[in-house]
């Protein structure tokens, strides 16, 4: 079984090596692909020295395009399962196998690692929690499914998911939209509990204004996408 772990990274030189080591430790059967999104701090070089597959965007294209580049690579090289895990060390590679499990059992096409499903799970600030509940509600309206952690970027998908997203993946803040898209295309979606670590360094990429933009953008694209024909 060909499995690819895609690590989108933007200026994560400090954390990327440890992430790679931990993925190797906990999930040695997978190939690792770091997609550096126009990093200027040598993230790509560090990853290459660690001996993993590396793709480097010539300029910063955003998380959506970065994940999609990884999926295009997976598609081109005939991987059967692709897993997406952040390069900043937030996602714990220990849970890689639990994210893949539902796919191996043929239960789902797309699996989301949720930090809110587990007991004593992730401690979020109340503002973030509010934002996530907003998206949970939005996803519920358009799919009728309750996804506890729709913005989680820790996910695994099978060939159907890879094919779908390699062709069409939202450019910024893609996670929530991708869920609705997958549901629309009839993919089986499932959540599994994972633990996430609070970010060790740097701040979340989402400030207050971007949070507003995030909500508006995602709401707009999901609502319009809903009325898109078979092509969308």
């Amino acid at each position: 079984m060909k499995i690819l772990v895609i690590v989108p990274a933007f200026n994560e030189r400090i954390t990327i090596r440890e992430v790679i080591v931990r993925i190797r430790t906990f999930y040695p059967q997978a190939d690792i692909l770091v997609v550096s999104d126009g990093s200027t701090d040598g993230t790509g070089r560090v990853a290459r020295e660690a001996g993993v597959l590396v793709l480097e965007h010539s300029y910063n294209m955003g998380i959506g395009a970065t994940v999609q580049t990884g999926l295009l690579y997976a598609l081109e090289n005939d991987y059967e399962i692709a897993i997406q895990i952040d390069g900043d060390g937030q996602h714990n590679p220990q849970f890689l196998s639990s994210v893949v499990e539902p796919i191996l059992q043929g239960r789902s096409n797309l699996v989301i690692g949720s930090r809110y499903l587990s007991e004593g799970g992730f401690k979020s600030t109340s503002l973030r929690k509010l934002g996530i509940q907003f998206f949970t509600g939005l996803v519920w309206i358009f799919t009728g499914r309750r996804i506890t952690d729709p913005t989680s970027g820790f996910r695994a998908m099978d060939r159907r998911g890879i094919g779908l997203f390699a062709e069409d993946y939202p450019s910024d803040y893609p996670e929530v939209e991708a869920l609705v898209l997958a549901h629309k295309k009839g993919l089986g979606i499932e959540e599994v509990p994972v633990q996430m670590r609070p970010r060790r360094r740097g701040t979340s990429s989402i400030g207050f204004l971007s949070a507003i933009y995030y909500m508006m953008k995602v709401t707009l694209s999901i609502s319009i996408g809903f009325f898109r024909g078979a092509k969308g």
């Binding site: 793709l55 965007h57 395009a65 580049t69």
Partner: protein, 130 residues
Amino acid sequence: MSAKLTLFAIIGSSFLLLVILDLVRRRYLKERYALLWIITGGLFLFLSIRKDLLYGISTLLGFVMPSNALLGLGFLFLLLISLGLSVITSRLSEKNKILAQEVVLLKKRVTDLEKKCEADNPSDEKEDSI
């Protein structure tokens, strides 16, 4: 509309048209994207000369002053042009993304192939470094 304003409108729109046509001639502006601009400039010139038509349109649309009708039309066309530009920008950024992703994947394939070549014929190694 006063004679002064009429003269100004005629000169202004002629100048705009000339600039647009010259840009197209020098290939700074593609015909495809110049079309809406030419229509705008042409219509302005036409209405500045044929004031009776401008008066007709302004009565039809309920403008009190014909010059305001001209202004309103100009505004409408500007809106259309900028909307068109946003569409073009969106399309371009999507195409640009696809191209950039393809380049990344191709680059990876080239380096992989180079490595494979080197591994297959170690004697050729020096040739590339010239």
